[in-house]
């Protein structure tokens, strides 16, 4: 069945051959309904196992027990069965949307089949490994077959940028602030759609967590699978190389007005006199991001819960270093293996307001949780969680 699914997709997309792959990242183990569980169990019953290294994206259940969710009993049972079935197929129980920070970093130029939109964008753009956007089912089918249809971003000639996204009019203080990269990602995703762009005009070199935030937001507002940053990402030593030494189809000069508009779009509410919760960690927080959280929180007690979503790879280190207990004593709810927009962890509350520094949470929270969203910097998120109301523009 796995090979039939891979072959049918190849036909659909006009690929005339299959490529061997070195690894996979599987987004398919998140419960959306019983049909996905039944599909995974059908593969298990057929004796399938993965042929290559396959890490798992988040599931619907926090198996570490750090957080609780309110899935009804039937859904809880089916979601647990689904996570179990993917382990039986031989996948690694990483349960994170940031596998690239959990030791799964395919080498430059390698062929892989990755799912989950932010993981795909990071894998292609920051690591320079080659993957298309693998959706649920195709990701596991390719991992079992050890092969993927040869088309799209697997082919080097399709990886060049055609659009220049010039940010030279933006000031450096903004570009090094933590709101800049989700905001730019939102704008980039909407103007680029599924094209490939190269970001130029930077006088700083964005570090990994900024690129992670940019890719995740761009992949939620557009269908971005690959972006280049001139002078930073591996296939873009400079603008001309990223463009394949051809003239760009379009040159977008980003203005401060475009940035202000994008930042406004990330919030769905304004002028609130309270917040009900704060959520950070989409994509999952790195250890460095937890260090920043702890440094800003300074052991203070929160007035509203702050949900900090991460993977086991980070949770184990927080526990080892004795930081988990301190965070939880402050009122931080650590969420591992899953996150607050994919499964019901936030209490159901009509008219509730969520503050977040994640462009991806900002995009998906209104539809998936019912909460309105206020987008803010990490510093403002923490001060607001302490105050229980929006505190905007505090010390950076």
């Amino acid at each position: 069945m796995a090979m039939r699914i891979v072959a049918e997709t190849a036909r659909l997309m006009g690929a005339d051959r299959l490529l061997p792959i070195e690894s996979a990242h599987i987004d398919g183990a998140l419960y959306h309904g019983d049909s996905g569980t039944l599909f995974a169990e059908t593969l298990v019953a057929g004796g399938a196992t993965v042929a290559v290294r396959a890490t798992l994206n988040v599931g619907a259940i926090d198996l570490t027990g750090c957080s609780r969710n309110q899935l009804p009993p039937h859904e809880h049972a089916m979601a647990t069965r689904m996570m179990h079935a993917y382990r039986q197929l031989g996948c690694e129980p990483t349960w994170t949307c940031a596998p690239y920070q959990a030791g799964h970093r395919p080498r430059l130029g390698s062929q892989v089949a990755w799912g989950e939109s932010n993981a795909v964008a990071f894998c292609n753009s920051v690591l320079g490994a080659r993957t298309n956007r693998y959706g649920d089912f195709l990701d596991i089918a390719c991992a079992i077959a050890g092969r993927a249809p040869d088309y799209g971003l697997h082919r080097p000639e399709n990886r060049y940028a055609t659009v220049v996204f010039d940010v030279s009019d933006l000031d450096e203080a903004f570009l090094t602030s933590d709101v800049a990269w989700p905001v730019l990602g939102n704008l980039y995703g909407r103007v680029i759609g599924n094209a490939i762009g190269v970001i130029t005009g930077l006088r700083m070199r964005p570090w990994e967590d900024l690129l992670k935030a940019f890719g995740a937001t761009a992949a939620s507002s557009g269908s971005v699978a690959l972006f280049h940053v001139a002078g930073t990402t591996p296939e873009a030593p400079d603008e001309a190389t990223a463009l394949g030494h051809r003239p760009p189809r379009e040159r977008i000069r980003v203005t401060p007005e475009m940035v202000r508009d994008a930042q406004r779009r990330l919030s769905t509410t304004e002028a609130a006199d309270r917040i009900d919760a704060v959520a950070i960690g989409s994509p999952h927080l790195s250890l460095e991001e937890f260090d920043r959280l702890r440094a800003r929180l300074r052991g203070r007690r929160l007035a509203v819960p702050l949900y900090a979503c991460t993977g086991r790879h980070v949770l184990h280190i927080l526990e080892r270093d004795g930081h988990r207990a301190g965070l939880e004593a402050s009122g931080v709810v650590i969420v591992a293996d899953t996150c607050v927009v994919v499964t019901p962890i936030l209490p159901e509350k009509p008219g509730a307001i969520l503050m977040t520094n994640s462009g991806k949470f900002a995009h998906y929270a209104p539809a998936n949780t019912g909460y309105s969203v206020l987008f803010a910097s990490l510093a403002d998120c923490i001060e607001s969680a302490v105050a229980g109301k929006p505190v905007v523009g505090g010390p950076p």
Binding site: T9, E116, V120, S221, A367
Partner: protein, 138 residues
């Protein structure tokens, strides 16, 4: 007038009303799998139901879990009557490929240039297995 579309994935001939989306959509986070309603508050067709419609999709965006939502819609009997895409999208159509593997009847998936979508919107369409699209008059 008949328009010929390319068949991406086979399905049964149908007659149903067309609904043209006027903005790209992410099925995950954009469509509620239990009600078939468009759930993205920022989408222009927010709140409308896609089940039983000939759904004309100009582009897909966002999450790679679109296939799971589409499979769930098929499984729950809430799928569109047919899906017409401006360009083939492996992520979304996987939902139909897997639905077929799991033994469910699946809607026809077609490719048609999005320039036709506005004129087809709201029309009662008769679509053949080979991808001929005709608007019913009267």
């Amino acid at each position: 007038m008949t328009i010929e579309a390319d068949v991406l994935l086979p399905g049964r001939a149908v007659e149903a009303r067309a609904m043209a989306l006027t903005a790209p959509i992410s099925f995950w986070g954009g469509v509620n799998p239990r009600t078939a309603e468009i759930a993205d508050a920022r989408h222009p067709e927010y709140g409308q139901r896609i089940n039983g419609r000939v759904l004309l999709i100009p582009a897909t965006i966002g999450s790679s879990s679109a296939a799971a939502i589409l499979l769930e819609l098929v499984h729950a009997g809430l799928a569109p009557a047919a899906i017409v895409l401006h360009e083939p999208d492996a992520i979304l159509l996987l939902g139909l490929i897997v639905a077929r593997e799991m033994g469910h009847p699946t809607p026809l998936a077609l490719r048609l240039d999005a320039s036709h979508f506005a004129a087809l919107h709201g029309q009662q369409l008769v679509i053949s297995e080979t991808g001929s699209i005709a608007a019913k008059t009267g």
